[in-house]
Amino acid sequence: MTSTEATRRVLIVDDNRAIHDDFRKILAAPAQDADLDALEAHLLGEATAQVAPTTSFELVSAYQGQEAHALVTAERAAGRRFALAFVDMRMPPGLDGLQTIEGLWAIDPDLQIVICSAFSDYSWSEIRARVGERDGLLIIKKPFDAIEVTQCAHALAAKWELARLARVHLDDLEARIRSRTAELQATNARLAIQMRELAQMESDLRLAQKLESVGRLAAGIAHEINTPVQYASDTATFLRDAFTDLIQVATGHAAVSRLVVDGHDAVAAARAAIDAEAEADLPFMLDAVPQAADQVLEGLGRVATIVRAMKVFAHPGQLDVAVTDLNRAVESTVTVARNEYRYVADLRLELGSVPPVNCRVGEINQAILNLVVNASHAISDVVEGTQRRGTIVVSTRADGDWACVSVSDDGCGIPETIRDKIFDPFFTTKEVGTGTGQGLALARSVIASHGGTLSFQSTVGHGTTFEIRIPIAGPAAVRVEAA
């Protein structure tokens, strides 16, 4: 219990002025009585009687019920409260005690009330029926004695204070819960926005990643196309010139033949034809021309292959799940990626028998491409500056209901320390500007969206194998299974 000095306001409602004086004598006087001290100490839970009385009373008088209502109303408007009121039961000509009490509680429900009654105007049960079961109501019989009034006043003042503190505490608690709830709602709303932003970001990143690889591929493909175009047109130029020479040789020989058939002297013409033949270097031509023709066709074939693969790789209709020949997808992907690895590695395809797979082939191609590019980087780290070359093996197989694509390299391997980070977005070991650090993160998310997995095994110094596993039946089938 607190011993803080406190003054409680007490309202006396009685039509008899003498009663007001009595209350004043009992409550307003400084408590000097030792018995009273002891009593008060007991009431307030103090251990000894040495502590001075902690509650004093300020008395306010009203002589009629209406006047009491006005005072309590004014008090509340001023931001103050009466702790308790002593109310007479009979106060002619105005409201009686019960009516006064009902009015007082309507204004201030916390007010503690003592009814002072000379005789039983109402029975206790009648009172209860009128005001309800209230714990803020006591009855003392007139004539009352001083100790009784003091006990009532102190007990009710303490009770009022406790109730007030409890209410403050409760209000505070409620306010804190409200503010906490509001904070949580705000946090929830922020989270929802962030989730949406994240989803947007992920789709942006996928696009960025796709554009990055398309940009990288476009450069590689430019090289892949420019090179065969260079030698095919060089060789075709040679063929054109060779034919010009050969036609001259043939024309010379035809002239000789005609002269011979017609019975003319053909020696001079034959000499000219032989000279033309020597000029044309016929033995070389006989050897070079068929090869050159093959080379032109081979160069055009290379161009056609890469253009076809590019079409398969980047076909716009691949955003939807469709029945896919996985082996053909793999072939196209490694064809467009050729320029990424050809300077550091040879690539071997080991394509197994895989039934048609339901997948978004564009995304799967993208994931395979990322793995092939990573494999060539891992090899490049090892062979760069040497004459050695690595090997990349891309294989496909069916494993029950699953289609598997694995990409193995004999490169540097993935150090233990970063194995748990390689799928993190933005994690990269490559030089700034070489990659966004999105390749593996997006590959994994793409495979996950198919209901599949992307895993790897790696030995430092020996190489790494990544394996894509996706359900042959497609992403939807897996969702149904899991449900």
Binding site: E224, I225, T227, S233, T235, T237, F238, A292, Q295, Q387
Partner: protein, 122 residues
């Protein structure tokens, strides 16, 4: 023994070299040509015999074209350096530009290539 210009072609793609060999055949009376598939072979050839012109691809395994021309510039400063490239990363291109006299893009018409080589020999 001859007044022929000596030209060295460097490309990792044999097919490109074959094409060049065929298309420059008509010039064999004026040029003496060699064809090698990499930077290391190119430097070996140049250490055996003088070349007036070296025509090199850029993207090649091991030593790339820019590195080769850089070495040629240092060891054989009088040799004219020509790039004939289908594509190269920006940094390789930049390095190549600093040491090449002429940059040609594949596909390059043989007349243009031959003119560039002829021009370089004055």
């Amino acid at each position: 023994v001859t007044g022929k210009a000596r030209v060295l072609f460097v490309d990792d793609d044999e097919a490109v070299l074959k094409g060049l060999r065929l298309v420059t055949r008509g010039l064999r009376a004026r040029w003496e040509m060699e064809f090698v598939t990499g930077g290391v072979d190119a430097l070996s050839a140049m250490r055996i015999r003088r070349f007036d012109v070296v025509v090199s691809d850029l993207r090649m395994p091991g030593m790339d074209g820019a590195a080769l021309l850089d070495r040629v510039h240092a060891e054989f400063p009088s040799t004219v350096r020509i790039v004939l490239s289908g594509y190269a990363e920006p940094d390789v291109l930049e390095r190549a530009r600093r040491v090449a006299h002429t940059m040609l893009a594949k596909p390059c018409a043989h007349l243009e290539l031959c003119a560039a080589i002829e021009r370089s020999m004055g």
